[in-house]
Symmetry: C6
Subunit: 307 residues, 6 copies
């Protein structure tokens, strides 16, 4: 069986400082955060659902059966820089806090294709799920679970894109199938894992994958209020004026001919560039920020039209 | 010869509880269910047909000869989430009840492509049918059959798509051919097996496959009455009002710009999401369900236009 | 050299009961049947042609020379379900009767592609013809032939499709070439073999193949009289009324928006489905047949437009 | 080095009876036949050209130098059944008669692609030309040549198609290049070989190949007079009437909606089919021929539009 | 692990004479040059940023955290001949001067694809980054860094082109992924490396790559003033007149139907050709230059439309 | 390392008689011939440039530095038969005369692709340049060079076509890259080599290749005066009349619907065919030539539209 290092990027134990900071910086995603927290609670202790039904519905309700037939699969769809990958890789910090247990973050290597033999992709994906099963068994004990897992497939369209596309190679189809089999193998087990597929081409995912998703969340570029929150936090300590912040929020929003800034446009381009403009000779000024914001082009929108 | 585990997903003995529950939840498919039951009766005891002819037609009728020339092949065609795979993988429970015998469910791995050598697909498909023959011989004895088999090929278009498509690789054609040979090898044997091909792209199946099908059944998204039945069953115990159910049935139906909900949209998305909205702090309410139904997008229709 | 089992489906000695019954059920194909019978007579004893010339044309006529330059190749073209494959695989029964000799039916495996090395297709096709030569030598002796052969390539377009198609792979071209060489190797030998290529895409066959065909026969869906004959035979014993038969013949014919039934639509779908509708509780009725005939869609026409 | 049998179809020593008969049956190709005969004379004894110049032009003329720079390459272009392959494979009989020497016919296997390793095509084509060089050295001695060679590449477009086509694989380009190198290697040597490329897609040949051709001959379907000659020869002895022949010549010509018959349509289809219609019970009649000529479709024209 | 020589073009220690001269000849790129110099200062001593904040902003400012999350990745986008590759391969000379340390220039071989096994591309890119890590550890010591690195990927679109393109092979996607992983592995380390991707098809770069870029600089063909500077420097000593220089600047600019000259059009074509026109018999004249400038076509613009 | 014979067509020492004759027959290409001669002088003794600057420009001029940054690369672009390959393979004769040294002609085999392993193309191109370096070192000694080299890549588009083409395989891109690296490795060395790329699809060459070219020369079909010169030379001694020559020059020129004759149309088709028409029985006549010129189709123009 393929070793863990060939299947996943290095496995990370959560919470860790950097990812929790990222998680906290992600603003405006409360709905998704709450849903994931509830899913984690159920994974940790499925009996809570029955307890809830007894509290609020006088005992068992038929729909609870449906939960055992569900796959623990979530699709994060949205534009580049909209925070979907950042959330996928950091929400485990919140789960860890909620459950008071360690959460292990597994990120699939897209290179999961083996050393060249056709057919290996299939077995490698199979191996990845086998690892989750093995780790999942270790994570469960007579007194409940002792840890949980988050399994992230970033740029998932590369792996599980729709078989509608006529020109897809047989091998790729086999990869989709292996993934489907892996997801199905998790249904009904008590393995405490949440699988997240991130994609900026949700229309390219295979319908059989989409059908299995417990939920699909759509991420967008930050709204006005979100941009304000992000910029205020990032510029804290620079002493810029409130009206400059107002102007920045406006400038970085969408215009008639261009989209608004992404989260990463704000935090990885605009603010660092302003600082480097000033460094090392003078303080960063309101004018630096405004001038750069006028100049910096937001990341282009990832289009699906190229299909 | 390739081992069983490389050819099939784990073989399941039916009936089992989960699949029987699924079978029972599938509403509005009575015609298909009845036909499959009759086919099973004939597989278990072909002489019943002659007995019937004697009872009702004064002895042998010419058409009975045609049955020995038929392939035990059925095509389940229809949209994602229309229940075709669920039925294919669960109707064996009913057969088991009717025959009072175990029924073994074989599901072909689409990854049946070997470890990379061109040409292996062909031999692997051959091996899959060889397994059916071997198992079939064990299943038949001097006193009739002691078990039956259901062989399901899900997403069959990936395996046996039409050779009309000019760009198909030779290897894929060879796979279609191997499948044809496998089907033909079952004709006239007394092996108690029913083969089901599921596809959401029936137009993509090879005509030579279609020609051999004893019947092609088309599955659709649930009609109004079927949605009502499904929702009422799933929500049993929640105490929602009758008029809420009426509204849900309407909302989840097709609109001018969108299709109706699929079965899985109802049972794997809408209802669980409503429950998780409420959980763990309060009961699920009529408003939860109605609001979610307004928000939730039905699964997109799988189009064949991409050919 | 590749073994016979890798090259051909199991070789069948004709006549056998099933195939003779099929041959007899094929109605409306008298012209083809007669021509094939004559070809067989010449293969068995080429001197008959000279004898005929002497009887009817006062000795040798120049055209007889042309026969030695001819390939024993026939193309059966036509729609799915039109009986071309059924005839190709059964007319050997008639030859056997005519010649009073066994006739061996060889059916090429389309999977004739070897275990993955490019170039093997070529040598495998070469091996297939070598087998025919070897078998042919055994079949001929000092006192004439002791058996004859029929070599069928079904779905021949997959093997020998036109090199006009720009995107054809070099390997496939090599396969066409190997087939041409094989056919040419039979010209002028006394090997008693008839080669039949079946295709539903006659336009896709390579012109160099078509040029070598001694004749191309086009098969169509059954005409009114043929449908009547087929249905009457199949329903013999069921006691349906003459006017029901009339109606069935009409319903199963082509309509403004759809083609007529194929042979297999009649014998493998309509009639068995009617019987299974009735089975096991009641006799098949005229109404069963008429209702089903209204419902059953004829097989779609295989279009070549997808090129 | 690859053996001769893997490179060429069995090498044939000319003249032989069958091919000479074919050569004689090819009517209306006198220009090509004459040119090839002259080329052969020069190959056998290049000094004849100088002798001719001395006889008719008072000694050396500058243009004779150009002959040493020429490749012995001819392109036979034209429709399927127009006689180009038949001529290519039979004109060596005439050369043999003219030179009073044996002529060896080498026909390249299009399967010249090796056992699967990319790059072998190149070395195999190189080997084919090496064989010609080796054989050529044996064919030349102190007292002139003792034999000559004809090297035919049928369906040459498959081997040396234009590199204009963007989608051509690198390997195929390498094959063209190897062929160019082979042709160039013959220039200026005294090897008595004539290379003929036959193609029905002359527009698909690589321009670098076309540029090297000493001449390109275009073959067409038989004209009226040619059809008359062919039919009269083939039907000699059948006793058909002169006006029937006239009618046949007309019927087999091109019509408003269809092309005329090819040579092989006349000799391999129409006449043999008429004879088989009559055989074994009655003489072939004028009516047989006329009826069949009305029914038989001429071979379709090979179009290059599919590029 | 793959050796350094298979991964990179020969590693160059900067400064060296030739590249510094090139760097100095690159006019009009001051903004980029300054930014790269500042990035280098931070790489050499990240504490400078904090020191700056203390000097000018009364201590720590929140945005400094963002720097640890940044990738040291820059994209140089622009037309052929616009100087982007020349700058990428020479700015290390300036860094070396600024840091007073050697700077090592690593240029990725685009041929980083291994010896043919699919999947090796992935591991080779991984190896390339491993080399950077290894070299980076050697470059850092207890007393700060003792050298720095510049890692250039020229024609980067070939390596990391967008996965938007449907037809991209899985292997190529895996290469993008490996590159992403490599870039991510540098984030937060103290390895003194700057990664530069050069491309003339910036629209073809994968969005996930673009998102990680700290900055994207767009290079254009030289403006009027830049052409003047380049030409004056190159022609120094030839004695051409000032008005000739004016005319040359005009002629080499963009016209209605054509683009302006690139840097290399000026320095590698126009001027050397003028000199060779004169050499060896006479001095280069104003007329030579003007005539050649009229004749020489500027390099065509690299279009992205071919997607 | 791959042997020389696998990389290059047999290496030729120039001058030789045949190629010098070809070089002399190439009319109307004086500009290219002169430029190449000057380049050769500089290769043989780079100090001549400085000497020239001192003679005519009072010492060193800045532009001379640019020469050390130049690649010795020339692109010969133009239609089939326009003489570009002929010049590329023969101008070394002139260099040899000018330098009074042997000149070695290396012609790259387009088949430089190895025996099938992806990635070998890259190393083979690398090996080809290594050979040039090795030979170059032998060619240079303390007293200057003792020989020079010409390296010709005919049909260069097959090797170094533009990476703009989306569908190009990665391996092909790697080949372009290897070629770029090879060319760059020659810059600044004193290896006496001139590299010539011939192509009839100049638009298909990679921009990074084009950018490195010291000059691009465009070759066309012969103009009226050039046709006259060629024909007069070839027909010398035949005694044709002056007005016949005039007529031939006109007939072989471009017409409204067709292009003019190429050089090879004139020398390899028209004239030899006229001679063979007459041979062996009578002298070639003015009528022969005129009639043939009317009949012979000029070579079709190689179009780039097929991209």
């Amino acid at each position: 069986m393929t070793g863990q290092d060939d299947l996943f990027h290095p496995v990370t134990e959560l919470p860790d400082h950097t990812r929790r900071a990222r998680y906290d910086r992600l603003v405006g995603l409360d709905e998704v955060k709450l849903r994931l927290r509830k899913e984690a609670l159920l994974l940790a202790d499925p009996t809570r659902l029955q307890a809830w039904a007894e509290s609020f519905h006088h005992g068992r309700i038929a729909a609870l059966d449906l939960f055992t037939d569900r796959a623990p699969l979530f699709v994060f769809a949205g534009d580049v820089g909209s925070g979907k990958s950042a959330l996928a890789e950091s929400f485990g910090c919140d789960l860890a806090d909620q459950l008071n247990l360690p959460v292990f973050l597994y990120r699939l290597k897209l290179a999961t294709r083996g050393s060249g033999l056709v057919g290996e992709m299939t077995s490698l994906i199979g191996d990845a799920f086998s690892h989750l099963h093995t780790a999942g068994r270790r994570a469960t004990g007579p007194r409940g679970i002792n840890s949980a897992m988050v399994f992230v497939v970033d740029e998932a369209d590369a792996l599980v894109q729709s078989r509608e596309a006529q020109q897809m190679h047989h091998e790729d189809r086999a990869g989709v199938d292996a993934f489907l089999a892996g997801i199905d193998s998790l249904v009904g087990t008590k393995i405490p894992v949440i699988v997240v597929l991130c994609t900026n081409r949700v229309g390219a995912l295979d319908p059989a994958i989409m059908r299995r998703a417990a939920a699909t969340f759509t991420f967008t570029r930050p709204e006005e209020q979100q941009r304000r929150t992000v910029l205020a936090a990032a510029l804290d300590g620079t002493g810029i004026h409130a009206e400059t912040l107002d102007k920045l929020v406006t400038i970085t929003g969408p215009g008639p001919d261009r989209p608004g800034y992404t989260y990463s446009d704000l935090t990885q381009r605009l603010v660092p560039a302003a600082i480097l403009n000033a460094f090392p000779d003078r303080p960063v000024t309101d004018e630096d920020l405004l001038a750069l914001a006028e100049l910096t082009q937001p990341s282009p929108v990832f289009t699906e039209d190229s299909r």
